[in-house]
Subunit: 129 residues, 2 copies
Amino acid sequence: MNVNVKSHGSEPTAKLATWCCAPVDTEALRDDQASALADVFAALADPVRLRIFSLIASQGEVCSCNLEAPLQRSQPTISHHTSRLAAAGLIVGEKRGRWTWWRPVAGQVDEVARVLRVTPSTGDADTLA
Amino acid sequence: MNVNVKSHGSEPTAKLATWCCAPVDTEALRDDQASALADVFAALADPVRLRIFSLIASQGEVCSCNLEAPLQRSQPTISHHTSRLAAAGLIVGEKRGRWTWWRPVAGQVDEVARVLRVTPSTGDADTLA
DNA sequence: CCTTTATATCGATGAACGTCAATGTGAAAT
DNA sequence: ATTTCACATTGACGTTCATCGATATAAAGG
């Protein structure tokens, strides 16, 4: 069937799960950790990219051709945003036939969620040293 | 005693927990939800702000005066970043005497982490490259 | 009052970003 | 081979941003 399956997308620059980092409330981030993490947040800091990512994550797999209409953006703009999400390691693309299919990278987004976790043990009535 | 305790910081524009939204993999984000969420991510999309937030979250409470040295940024720059974090609802400031003390808002960051969660039970996810 | 201290705001500058029209690329269909 | 189709890349434009120096505000101590 899929003879023309190729891996696709920019080489992700962010490989958070391999080396970054303790939850933000347990230990202060080093500068290099903060830079890598900021790159991932920057990829999510645009409403169009967020909607693209949620469309991909909720459908499991989405073709680029099915993103232009719901987001009302031009084809180059969609391509630009999928590239940025891929560079951040949040999605991966696979070219099958003429279409590029994008899937979420669960590990990357879970890693971000883990780092973001703030222990609720800091009650508001507590004395905070 | 602390007679001069005042609430402080810009009125947070992002009140995610009150209305936003399903995890990104269960339902596609609406445009207004994506915009609000993108604002929070934009607040985290800078290495200096990330380190400020992690310093505050890990210490529970930090004075602005203790941020300039570790981050090696000027006082106006630190003030600018704390304002942006406060506007995103991620921290709150309290002016006691001459100093402004910043604390994390656990609910906001937990809400972001919850929305980010991607269930690893995505049906066809076994073919991840 | 005046001075000191901590923080906020203003103005400017250079960099990065979102967007689209035009164009390039490579694979599929005819 | 030629055309068509899906997507990437380029170039340009206006906007937003991070940063700092200068200045303003506000509180505490004299």
